[in-house]
């Protein structure tokens, strides 16, 4: 149990906290004049949140600063000139957001293969390497998002916005969040072979990103339409993706659990109970954040659309997803269900979630049409 009492903190925790406060102070001294009260509040909230995150999960004490440093190197390399992405070596091959995304894609695919290899050959070394590749891919994803944020301002001061505004950007966010959640459970339960399954869903997302970028030029940064110009977006979308990420993670563990129950890969995967446990934990996290995200969405809708609930297809599907997992948790907690039924249910839950996430944008029209394909 990680409590946050100060006397049990690791010295590095304080180093990290000081670093975060210094970074926030620097940001404030430099941009404070442009911030309104909301934004100052957000800055303070983000700083506190990051410190908590680093204390809660020690790996974040290096991960977050590393992404920050890489992003700063990239911004320095840009020097206010977007076209340098085409010739500055560091940007062209590593740190420009699109280069970082491509690295992320490659690393995820390699990591997936290595996880499978490690699991099938029972090679701890391979699993360790796979895990390392996932960490690096996640670092690339976070760096890409940060750099893309900066790039959007280089296109035009009025174009700049947080990169969570279209399907392409949120897919990168999805990869990042799902990976981080998985890596947390991997370390917590010392069960690396789960990665073989979780990384499959991330690889699928990578496939989508590549198609979307190469075929549809979705990576181009577009300015925000008026409906999206709201600070609610900054919290509504990431909260939603913690939910989506957690549900996908749970579904893949459900698949693993079902295989184990049929004695497929049973000796190579974690135990049936561990898989069920992690699945449950993922769904509780996902459910909490999905609830918050839906409420934030309602609050935003009240500002933008004139009503907190309009039975828009996306809203309705969010409700269906919510009801689905509410029922899942109910039967587990109240009725004490365990086992394959819940695993199957989690897998079906992914289908429902995927439809709510992409299907609605593809097949149904409505107020959320800016997330369209």
């Amino acid at each position: 149990m990680s409590t946050l009492s100060l006397n049990r903190r690791h010295p590095l925790d304080f180093v990290f906290a000081v670093l975060m406060v210094l970074a926030a102070g620097f940001a404030f001294s430099r941009y404070g004049a442009h911030m309104d009260y909301y934004e100052q509040g957000i800055l303070a909230g983000v700083t506190t949140g990051l410190i908590w995150f680093g204390w809660f999960w020690p790996a974040m004490r290096w991960f977050l600063p590393a992404a920050g440093v890489l992003a700063l190197i990239a911004t320095a390399a840009y020097g206010n000139d977007l076209s340098r992405a085409q010739h500055a070596f560091l940007l062209k091959y590593l740190l420009a957001s699109q280069s970082a995304v491509m690295w992320m894609c490659v690393l995820y695919v390699m990591s997936t293969i290595t996880y499978w290899f490690g699991m099938l050959r029972r090679s701890e070394t391979a699993l360790g390497i796979a895990s390392g590749m996932s960490w690096t891919a996640a670092l690339a994803a976070l760096t890409a998002l940060l750099v893309r944020w900066y790039e959007s301002y280089l296109i035009g001061a009025d174009v700049g916005h947080i990169p969570v505004s279209n399907l392409y950007e949120v897919f990168i966010l999805f990869c990042l969040i799902t990976t981080l959640m998985y890596l947390y459970y991997e370390a917590r339960f010392k069960a690396r072979s789960m990665g073989a399954f979780v990384l499959l869903v991330i690889s699928a997302a990578v496939g989508f990103i590549l198609w979307y970028s190469l075929d549809r030029q979705a990576h181009e940064i577009q300015p925000l339409i008026p409906a999206l110009q709201s600070w609610w977006m900054k919290i509504h979308v990431p909260a939603n993706f913690i939910g989506y990420g957690a549900f996908s993670l749970a579904a893949m563990l459900g698949v693993a659990q079902l295989l184990v129950s049929r004695n497929v890969l049973a000796t190579r995967l974690p135990t049936y109970e561990t898989l069920g446990d992690v699945m449950y934990k993922a769904i509780t996290v996902g459910f909490l954040f999905f609830t918050i995200a839906t409420i934030l969405g309602a609050a935003w809708a009240a500002d933008a659309w004139g009503g907190y609930w309009s039975w828009d297809p996306k809203e309705t599907w969010a409700l269906i997803v919510w009801l689905n997992y509410a029922a899942w948790l109910h039967v587990r907690l109240v009725k004490g269900w365990r086992g394959n039924v819940l695993a199957w249910w989690a897998v079906v839950g992914l289908l429902v979630t995927t439809f709510a996430f992409i299907g609605v944008n593809m097949f149904l029209s409505g107020l959320h049409s800016y997330g369209g394909l």
């Binding site: 977007l82 420009a96 035009g156 190469l214 030029q217 008026p226 909490l288 039975w311």
Partner: protein, 664 residues
Amino acid sequence: MRFAVSLLAIVAIASIIGTVLKQGQQFIDYRIEFGDFWFGIFDPIGLFDVYHASWFLAILGFLMLSTSLCIYRHAPGMVKDIRSYREHAGRNSLRLMAHHAEVEGETVVDRQAAQEYLKRAGYRWRINDANGVWLLAAKKGSAQRLGYLFAHAAIVVICIGGLMDGNLPLKLREVVGNKKAETRDIPQSKVPPESRLGTGNLSFRGNVTLPEGAVGDVVFLSEGEGYFVQDLPFALRLKQFQVDYYSTGMPKRFASTIDVLDRKDGKIIKSGVVEVNKPLVVDGIAIYQSSFGDGGSALQFTAWDLGGGGESKLNATSKSTQNITLDGKPYTLEFGDLRVTNVENMGKPGSGDVPSGDTSTVAVNKVEQALASAQSVKSSRNLRNMGPSIQYKLRDQAGQAVEYLNYLSPFYADGATYLLAGVRKDITAQFQFIRVPLDSENKSDAYMRLRNVMLDPANYPEIARRTANKAFADGGFSSTRRDDFQSVTQAILQQFGHGGFTQIDKFIESKVPADKRAAVAQTYLKILQNATVDAMDVAQQKAGLPPLPMTAENYHFLMDSLVATSGFYEYGSPVFLQFDAFTEVKSSGFQLTRSPGEPVIFFGSILLVIGIFCMFYLREERVWLRIGDGHTLLSLAGNRRPAELDTTFAAHRNALLPAIPQGE
């Protein structure tokens, strides 16, 4: 429970239907889409407005009731349980717990130290010291159970909030019969009282569209096939509506500058700007920016008579209908919205020149291109603002309409300028454009002069004479052939004047054997082109203007004129309305809502989040330390995973029963 789950499933399925079937459309559209038979089934069960159907609301109401009952049944016991320390637990029941340890002796534990340890570990406790037994009952994380209550109460609260904002009272009044939706399209002031709602209505969500400068004091609530008129406690005046654009042509900001006026004396209560994401709240009513459009702009046209060749001015107003007589027949002109900006995506720059060749090189090139463009986040789309446009329908006496789309600004292409005149005869089709070539002053006059000359048979002998003169100027032909040539030229002009290139094609098909048609068509085209040059000279001469010098640009212009003239045979209108000028009047659509349930909903939401957090992230644990009957007993109960409880219990035993060897 089973019943509730099935009802929940019905709600989910109904919701899904509601997302697949577009809700709240015009009833006539549904009738067309599904046919009368299915419409007759779908409509009564409310599939076109599922979320407000009475059975849907009834199910929700039932679920709310059953959740309330569930809380009512469980809450007292739970609260009692939460508050209780269970300090009267007996030795036997404590020994039955999965995690317990008992040692002999009553002095092995320092009671004070034990309490300090539990305090540090975050427990609260109560001590029961009676009948020679000292029992310390400690607990933490009891709020977990509270989470259950919170989460379920939240559902009920949210439903209540939703009901407060729903249109249930209005529905009831409809059932009782004292309110009825208006289905006729009549002026707002003529709507009878049974379709009007007073300012006392506690909750509504309605729309109103105001042109710039106009004042409105009602909103419209759509209801099935009809609407209600909701009176507002104030009046709204739109002073100005503004759209800002990004450099890419995407809209950046929609903003309405409004005044809120007192209904009685017209005094300004409040002024402000309403933007998307930035509503203005007045008197508990929130005013949102919801749409925008044309509010009826003044339009000026030059009407070119395509038959007789006359020219006149026409004034009109967008979004309005007016009568017009053309060729002695009555028509109605139905003007649509004036669109001031039309940004079109003209594709990637240079995308037209993908090298041709075998498909594999093209494919490789495409991949290379895609990879290259994947590197840059900056959009390289070729956007072009086509300028203002107006769309209108011309309807004849029989009710047949053809739709037109005319642009005001010249269109630049291939080094020349044109006016675009779009036409479509089927509403689902794309517009076909006629490019009316413009002269060096960007005017259509030169083209119209030429067209009039070319379509007037009286001019054909003169044109043919000039064409023949030029052809025989170098003396290459005999003079007998000259007459033939002249009459052929006249015939071609005649055919062209009857129906453009299509007519010439028909003419050739009827007169020339199949194997010679291509050659003859070539010759005819050449003659027609030459005749056009002469027709232009005639036109210039008639207008008292100097002839056009035969530069490449002018030749290009004449050929374009030929194409345009031919195109007008497919135009379907006896008149071409050249769009000359406009004075824009914008309109802005507002949504006004009064929703007293909103704070209730958000209170319920907060309750829900707290509830879910408590349920999943607080862990209830209870510890008992019992000293009596010559034994010291430590027990632990909790609802966490056994493995986690093992660790916790081991820690407690080490701390509380230190000196005792392990074992029970």
